[in-house]
């Protein structure tokens, strides 16, 4: 279990700032994930109170959307597009290679907590696949060799 090291005051201030806007819940969740890296389950009661809905409804929204995390991710998040356009350009081979290289499965995190591996359905780079994203950076035409170089570079700057 990871210890709770997030800043509850920061979460409270996000809720206070956003709660009166129409349809405030998604913007609040995005801001929290941006700041904390995930949405701590223990923040749910405060969010529910802020937007005046039940905790169950907040939980329902968090778990509905693929983008929101309830647990911290690894230091780097590696997303590999596995939708049709990238399939047509060999993303499944890259996906197998990535699992082998990182030593973890999709939706998993490496033992050293350095990388989380995720599937994404479409990064909008459909003419130049396979496409991946590492943290905030996009990469297109990713061969196995290019993937190795990118991962190595991230390992180098731990």
């Amino acid at each position: 279990m990871s210890t709770q090291t997030f800043d509850m005051a920061a979460i409270e201030s996000i809720i206070a700032k956003r709660k009166s806007m129409p349809g405030a819940l998604l913007p609040i969740l995005h801001d929290i994930q941006n700041t904390v890296g995930y949405i701590p389950p223990s923040a749910v009661p405060a969010i529910a109170e802020g937007v005046n809905i039940s905790r169950a409804e907040v939980h329902g929204v968090i778990t509905y959307y693929h983008f929101f995390r309830q647990h911290p991710a690894g230091k780097h998040v590696v997303q590999i597009c596995r939708a049709e356009a990238c399939q047509a350009r060999g993303c499944e081979e890259l996906a197998s290679h990535a699992k082998e290289l990182l030593g973890c499965d999709f939706h998993g995190t490496t033992d050293d907590n350095n990388f989380s591996l995720e599937t994404v359905y479409c990064l909008g780079q459909c003419a130049s696949g396979p496409a991946i994203q590492i943290d905030d950076d996009l990469y297109a035409r990713v061969s196995k060799e290019k993937f190795n170089r990118l991962i190595q570079a991230k390992r180098g700057v731990q």
Partner: protein
């Protein structure tokens, strides 16, 4: 003399190293004492050439590409700023056949201007449409859009003007414009290119929509996978507000239109319009039953125009050049142009805007150059994960909503994904069902349960367990999903599945054509 150099900021260019190339150009120019102005333009949409570097000359812009960081010094050595010879030189950009053969009405600025420069936008026919619309009666604006023949570019192809008319006629204290920018279909990136490479066009289109129907608030619902779109839209919205093109007193007219971007959260089904409304309201993206139509009871229960990015950003052009101009392009009941997206296994993937009527074959071979792998193209999926797989025998189908419907296919959002002959169509059919399992909102049974059963049936077919019976079962299941699902997610997932089965029966084993009793 200062030379202007262009290096795109479009995310595909960035994904291929455009920032590194741009930095290298700036550094090299400085080291050599050459005075340059570096503009970060949008992409011309010829992605095999990205990062594509352009240089402004008296004769027009000349292009070089693809240029990686390590090739920059060589460019300077070849004196590329003065037309020096280089093996990556492409000549005048406008003369590159891929661009020259297009009919870029809507994407006229894309790749040419700095996307977030309002000044650049104004210098290229920007806001001419709004200036005209602001002098017109709302009903006249709606009529102009109706007359243009514009139909919803998100995929449903519903006449845009008719939708606007419904909202205009609705009586309410508050109305909304909601732009569906949840471009989740694989093989599509035209919305992304508008938002990243010409965001003011969308902003102007939404502002005109607001004037036309009496809406004062607009929302753009953008995928979380498109951070560059969100950033460019926000920057452009700020600039438009500061210059009086948005806000409480548009161009001094006393009319109000406020616009904000809402970030989605990775649920494909939120591209369905009512699920999108739920999501903007802060709920799970569950599809709503219709009626009521969102045009009457939409966002926060108020009358709402929901249009796709391409539909809304066609409006400034229609207003500035007139409905007749737009309508003169196209065929049958498909009027105007469609920005088509060439994706997957193609040599020359990218954005091709053409009038309706162009055939699939022209796009795949004349523009796309055939498969990148060099193998024969066996199947093309048109219109995203819910679109049909089309075999070579249908490649002469013209892009036209009705012509595609006649062969059980759909134009959708104009994306096409090419597969070579190594593709296993049974696997693609299984993937379509699997995608529906992952992305179904879960509200209706045919979609939620049907997709899971569909994966199981496909697994049995692939494993050759009682194939004829399983194929009958698959057809029966698809029939239930088509007719019984609440929205396109469930009732279009059978499109890729059945088209794979019908057009590529050899991939489904011995007795594939078994039909339901």
């Amino acid at each position: 003399m200062t030379v202007t150099i262009f290096v795109p900021r479009d995310s595909t260019a960035l994904a291929l190293g455009a920032n590194e190339t741009a930095a290298a150009i700036a550094k090299e120019a400085k080291a050599r004492g050459i005075d340059i102005k570096l503009v970060r333009n949008g992409s011309r949409g010829m992605f095999w050439l990205e990062p594509m570097v352009e240089v402004a000359t008296d004769a027009g812009r000349i292009a070089f590409g693809p240029i990686e960081e390590h090739e920059v010094a060589g460019l300077f050595d070849a004196d590329f700023l003065n037309g020096g010879k280089h093996d990556k030189a492409l000549g005048l950009t406008e003369e590159i056949p891929y661009l020259k053969k297009q009919e870029r009405l809507q994407f006229v600025r894309v790749g040419i201007t700095d996307p977030v420069s309002l000044e650049d936008y104004l210098a290229h026919e920007g806001y001419v449409g709004l200036k005209k619309a602001i002098t017109m009666e709302p009903a006249a604006i709606v009529q102009e859009v109706t007359d243009s023949g514009l139909r919803g570019r998100g995929g449903a192809a519903f006449p845009t003007g008719i939708k606007w008319k419904t909202v205009l006629g609705a009586k309410a204290a508050q109305k909304y414009i909601a732009c569906n920018a949840d471009e989740g279909d694989s093989g599509t990136f035209s919305d992304r290119m508008v938002m990243e490479d010409d965001p003011f066009m969308l902003i102007e289109g939404m502002t005109i929509a607001g004037l036309a129907v009496g809406a004062t608030e607009g929302y753009i619902y953008v995928r979380s996978e498109y951070p560059h779109s969100i950033a460019n839209l926000n920057e452009a919205i700020d600039a438009a507000n500061a210059a009086g093109y948005l806000g409480a007193n548009i161009l001094g007219s006393g009319r109000t239109f406020n616009l904000q971007v809402r970030k989605a959260a990775g649920a494909y089904v939120c591209g369905e319009e009512t699920a999108m409304l739920e999501s903007i309201e802060g709920k799970r993206g569950m599809v709503r039953a219709k009626p009521p139509l969102p045009a009457l009871e939409g966002l926060f229960g108020k009358p709402t125009v929901i249009n796709n990015v391409i539909s809304l950003s066609a409006v400034p052009l229609i207003m500035s050049r007139g409905a007749e101009f737009y309508k003169n392009y196209g065929m049958g009941r498909s009027r105007g142009t469609l920005p088509m997206q060439l994706a997957g296994n193609l040599k020359y993937g990218g954005l091709v805007e053409k009038a309706f009527g162009v055939t699939l074959r022209e796009l795949l071979y004349d523009f796309g150059g055939g498969s990148e792998s060099g193998r024969p193209i066996r199947a093309v999926q048109v219109g995203g994960p819910l679109g049909a797989y089309m075999p070579e025998s249908l490649f002469d189908t013209p892009f036209d909503y009705e012509a595609f419907a006649a062969v059980d296919s759909t134009v959708g959002h104009g994306g096409l994904v090419a597969f070579d002959d190594t593709v296993d169509m049974a696997k693609q059919a299984r993937y379509a069902m699997h995608f529906c399992v992952a992305e179904s909102c879960g509200k209706c049974t045919p979609c939620r349960i049907g997709s899971t059963r569909g994966v199981e049936v496909m697994d049995k077919i692939i494993a050759n367990q009682n194939r004829p019976q399983q194929i009958r079962l698959l057809r029966d299941l698809c029939d239930v999903m088509v007719t019984g699902s609440l929205c396109a997610m469930g009732n279009m997932t059978p499109f890729p599945v059945l088209s794979a089965l019908n057009h590529f029966p050899e991939d489904f084993g011995d007795q594939p054509m078994a039909t339901a009793a």
